[in-house]
Symmetry: C2
Subunit: 243 residues, 2 copies
């Protein structure tokens, strides 16, 4: 019913919310929906009247390749607290779809409420803008990882990022988290073949850095894993400052 506390925590980690900002956020009317694994949350191309926020589970931005309908590329993952398709509010339409990875619960916010925020709450508007810029910074980091890391180091980087983001909103701790991704989906994310992903997973296991059974991931050696991935969380921009 009420807007997810995850998103408020996401913002408060980066800036101070005034009483007005906070009450405007809490006054948002939202529609709660759940999705089964693989279901489309936001379809491609359609101009939507609402944007969605992650409440529970994991979702992915999925790009269909032209002329190769069986192939796709995943360009982003979203965790609880992420305001996933704010893009759809400002742009003409999404060039990709958002799909559920594992079971997902989201809250939809209508665009007329977002218009109201941008017309009357400039500080809050900058914070929404910030959220989309952090997504862009994550995209850049994926580009850096793709260009500079090979297989298991690349996978290690993904695991470090997801854990850090989940931990930041209180959705994971103790170096454990749930990652309901098939190896085929991991391959769509990392740009490898499923077979190669399998070897990367085994490599990290053999090095004693992680355990991964079903959807349950545990990072046994954070120092080793983040070192291998050359992971540096500053791009997630979790610095507390006035914006």
């Amino acid at each position: 019913m009420a807007i997810t506390d995850y998103f408020i925590r996401y913002l408060q980690r980066r800036d101070t919310l005034s009483a007005e900002d906070l009450s405007r956020l809490r006054a948002l009317r939202t529609e709660n929906e759940t999705f089964a694994p693989g279901e489309v949350i936001v379809p491609v191309d359609r101009i939507a009247q609402r944007s969605c926020m992650m409440l529970r589970g994991l979702s992915a931005r999925s790009h269909q390749l032209v002329g190769r309908p069986e192939e796709r590329v995943i360009t982003a993952l979203h965790v609880p607290g992420d305001f996933v398709d704010l893009h759809g509010f400002v742009l003409a339409g999404l060039e990709h779809s958002v799909v559920a990875v594992g079971p997902v619960e989201v809250e939809f916010v209508s665009h007329d409420q977002l218009i109201d925020i941008t017309e009357n709450f400039p500080h809050l508007t900058r914070l929404l803008w910030m959220a989309t810029l952090i997504d862009a910074a994550v995209h850049r980091q994926w580009l850096v990882a793709a260009a500079s890391l090979r297989s298991s180091a690349h996978l290690a980087h993904l695991l470090c990022e997801i854990y850090t983001r989940l931990n930041a909103v209180g959705a994971a701790g103790d170096h454990r988290f749930s990652l309901p991704l098939l190896q085929r989906e991991l391959a769509d994310i990392l740009g490898y073949s499923p077979i190669h992903v399998n070897r990367a997973v085994r490599d990290l296991r053999d090095r004693g850095m992680i355990t991964w059974s079903g959807a349950d991931v545990k990072i046994l050696d954070w120092t080793g894993l983040s070192g291998l991935a050359r992971f540096d969380a500053t791009y997630l921009d979790m610095e507390q400052m006035s914006r």
Copy 2:
């Protein structure tokens, strides 16, 4: 002196600017600066008081790799009309630097003027936001290209994108443009070794799709090149609509 017409053209291609928006843009005070090839336009990490708009030339977002000071990854290119580091206005600081590729001329806009826009010009604010979201869409497309295209097709995609963006603001036409990139820099962009980039360039030349001499690129066979790259410009979101 006056704000670059390129940026206004960039916006007008996507939405209608009201008289107020237009006069606010034209009233911006800017500082004009030029940079030699390789110079740093926006340094990493520093919290800046101004953001820069491309007026002439080409610039790149350059990521230094931790522990490997001689290596870098380029995650974006910017052409005339691009408002390059709006990110620095909203975020705590850039995790990368912006460097000149070839000779560059930019206009700096102070952040207090951007604050004024976000406080008093909500529609213009959404358009600035849109500009950063288009950058993010370009990042995603680079991720898709990196995951799904090999060498010469990947290079072809870059050429199609840059030409389309230059053409959209009137900075190039007739399938010719200037791309003052060294093959070593192309390698930093595509995530290949310089030798492999060389082979990709030769391949496109041998197929009769392009000529490339010094900084001058000419696309001889747009259909073939964009087909090889599976290039589809819709992600550049150049649809005219109200936002």
